[in-house]
């Protein structure tokens, strides 16, 4: 077996490695700090494997082209940061409703507006969930380490292909630009999922066939000649005004994710077995939290860490269960309380204490340790 290659990589470079590992063959993007290295990396690497790279005229065009390439059969990626993520929202909703697999990376920088381009934030957590209009399913994965950006990008593609939906990879500028040693997995080492292909006769093919929870997706140009629209549609993809059909489809696209939350959720638990105070956080903030929890343990405080690698769908169950066992859940986040609200919603007994920072500086281990000590 080929030996795994070890490289010193930046988070954004690891994202490129992950995308290629997952079989991504199309990238469309528009430059924006702090995500640009993904576009630059893809522009070099994709043509080497026969893939397509295009720099579009803006972020709307980028995601639109990526959706187009996906319906034409290629695994597609687009990457951006806050302002560009805002522009992508209408198309993101289109991909949700038309059920077209796609991966969108958002390397979070300070906001709102142009904000702090070179500074980190975690302030797009709610935008990832509610950014586009209408009820819609959302999957968002949240790596904390450079190695994990690689593996979570692969997982994002797998989820997108499996559930026929856009998947967001959400990480902050700190790990986007951090360099760490990364092991490039050997072929076959990580699972790679491809969308289910249509095999039936063209006459029997319905792109939104209700007999399936997730119907197979035929690529354009394969003899199926079906219709895709962003209007509410029936199983054959054509628009409908029938309230029953609209209701059916709107609920089905939510259910296909809800019914598989167990499979989509991914949490890392550290010292939670006997913890009396827990920290819940993600991304680079989880690295500070881990440090703080270790320090607390050294001082004899029973602290633990719950780190979600899937933030959407929100890990309701894990938080609810945790809240029955600990006195307090501390939620450090580089925003003014987006996850804290969710934790409060799920928490049954424990106190929920947010730590918030929006000055473009990371939340330090000392900041978290202070709060742990107060609530031990």
């Amino acid at each position: 077996m080929a030996e795994n290659k070890k490289k010193l990589l930046q988070g954004n470079e690891a994202c490129v490695e992950g995308a290629l590992y997952a079989g991504c063959r199309f990238y469309a993007g528009y430059p924006i700090t702090p995500s640009t290295e993904i576009a630059e990396g893809m522009s070099v690497r994709l043509p080497r494997v026969g893939g397509k790279f295009i720099q579009m005229e803006d972020e709307i065009a980028s995601i639109a082209a990526a959706i187009g390439a996906s319906i034409a059969g290629l695994k597609s990626l687009t990457a951006t940061s806050g302002p560009g993520f805002s522009l992508k929202q209408e198309c993101l909703g289109y991909a949700c409703l038309a059920e077209i697999p796609l991966v969108v990376v958002n390397v979070m920088r300070g906001g709102p507006s142009t904000g702090y381009p070179t500074g980190p934030s975690q302030a797009d957590i709610m935008q990832a969930k509610w950014g586009t209009h209408g009820d819609h399913p959302v999957i968002a994965v949240t790596p904390s380490y450079v190695q994990e950006i690689l593996s979570e990008t692969v997982r994002a593609f797998n989820l997108a292909e499996k559930y026929r939906t856009p998947v967001i990879v959400l990480y902050d500028e700190i790990i986007g630009h951090m360099r760490e040693p990364v092991t490039i997995p050997a072929p076959g080492e990580l699972d790679v999922v491809d969308r289910e292909k249509a095999t039936c006769d063209a006459d029997d093919y319905f792109p939104y066939d209700e007999r399936y929870e997730i119907a197979p997706l035929a690529p354009f140009g394969a003899g199926y000649r079906f219709h895709v629209t962003g209007l509410n549609h029936r199983k054959d993809g054509f628009p409908t005004n029938d309230p029953r059909q609209i209701d059916l489809n709107n609920r089905r696209i939510m259910r296909k994710i809800d019914n598989h939350r167990e499979e989509i959720w991914k949490n890392e638990e550290t010292f939670l077995e006997d913890a009396e105070v827990a920290v819940f956080t993600l991304g680079s903030t989880a690295r500070s939290a881990r440090f703080a929890v270790n320090k607390a343990r050294e001082a004899g405080i029973k602290a633990g860490l719950l780190r979600p690698l899937t933030i959407w769908p929100f890990p309701d169950r894990a938080v609810t269960e945790l809240s029955k066992r600990v006195k307090a859940i501390i939620v450090p986040e580089m925003n003014l309380g987006q996850m804290t609200l969710e934790v409060e919603r799920c928490s049954k007994k424990a106190d929920v204490i947010g730590i918030h920072r929006v000055d473009g500086e990371p939340i330090t281990p000392a900041q978290i340790l202070d709060v742990i000590k107060k609530h031990k």
Binding site: P47, R48, A61, G68, A69, A72, Y94, G221, R225
Partner: protein, 287 residues
């Protein structure tokens, strides 16, 4: 031996079988009586037939608007996207599958207002596709607001006192932006339009056809036209001149008239081909 007079040989013209390319169970269409969009669709289907294109290999992409409802009625790979975004969606499809024939259907508002930036960049790239811009000088779908091609002084639900914004010349813009085939037709000149669309389909590169058609329901009523046919006569027939006749006419006869026919055609490297021949080749060469 027959004594009957020899029969005069009549040329039998078979009626064109539109159903071959339509999805008959998706009809009737949403278009109003007198709307030009259906005439354009028929010309397009005849041109597709003449070009010998295979249904499985055609991808039709549209934005949002009355005109953009076209893909729902035709038996190709069809994608009704978002307002203004047909071209970037189509760019992704074509770039991913250069072997497919991509046809974009877009309204004047769709292509030139909300999608204006995509329009100029798609022209600039010279990616191989045919783009039909349905120029009815209004936003039909939303009920008759002024569009980027509404004439100065025209009335719309949002220009009750007369439009003060000068209109775009779609063809000039396409040409200046880099499209390698630029033409204009009208719904009135349906046979000529079929030929023009045929030429656009057989061109390799970005082919833009600006098609003047009428929205009697909104533009017509708001601007005191008596009927759809009168609109076609005034706006499409009297207001346009074929480029081949234009040379023979004195300047005063061309005053304020729009030219029809192929206005610009050049051969230039096509985007997907350039990518193969330059980018992929360099990226995969050993040196």
């Amino acid at each position: 031996m027959s004594t009957a007079a020899p029969e005069k040989k009549e040329k039998v013209v078979q009626p064109f079988d539109y159903n071959k390319y339509l999805r008959p169970n998706k009809l009737p269409h949403i278009w109003c009586p007198g709307c030009g969009h259906g005439i354009v669709l028929k010309a397009l289907l005849r041109a597709i037939d003449k070009a010998g294109l295979q249904k499985d290999n055609i991808v039709m992409v549209s934005g949002i608007g009355c005109s953009s409802r076209t893909p729902g009625y035709v038996d190709f790979n069809t994608m009704h996207t978002l307002h203004g975004r047909a071209l970037p969606f189509a760019t992704g499809i074509k770039f991913a599958r250069p072997d497919l024939k991509v046809i974009v259907i877009t309204g004047d508002g769709d292509a030139l207002a909300i999608g204006g930036n995509h329009f100029i960049h798609a022209c600039r790239r010279n990616i191989d596709m045919t783009v039909l811009v349905y120029t009815n000088a209004t936003y039909g779908m939303t009920g008759g607001q002024y569009s980027p091609t509404s004439p100065v002084g025209s009335t719309a639900t949002t220009s009750r006192y007369g439009n003060i914004e000068p209109p775009f010349d779609t063809c000039e813009m396409a040409k200046a932006s880099g499209a390698t085939f630029v033409a204009r037709g009208t719904a009135y000149h349906a046979i000529e339009l079929e030929k023009t669309i045929y030429d656009s389909l057989t061109h390799r590169g970005m082919a833009v056809v600006d098609i003047i058609d009428a929205c009697p329901t909104y533009f017509g009523r708001m601007n005191k036209f008596k009927s759809a046919t009168q609109m076609m006569e005034v706006i499409e027939k009297e207001n346009t001149v074929n480029i081949k006749q234009a040379d023979k006419l004195p300047p005063e006869k061309l005053q304020g008239k729009m030219l029809r026919g192929i206005l610009h055609k050049v051969e230039k490297p096509e985007y997907c081909q350039q990518y193969e021949e330059h980018v992929i080749k360099k990226a995969t060469s050993k040196e």
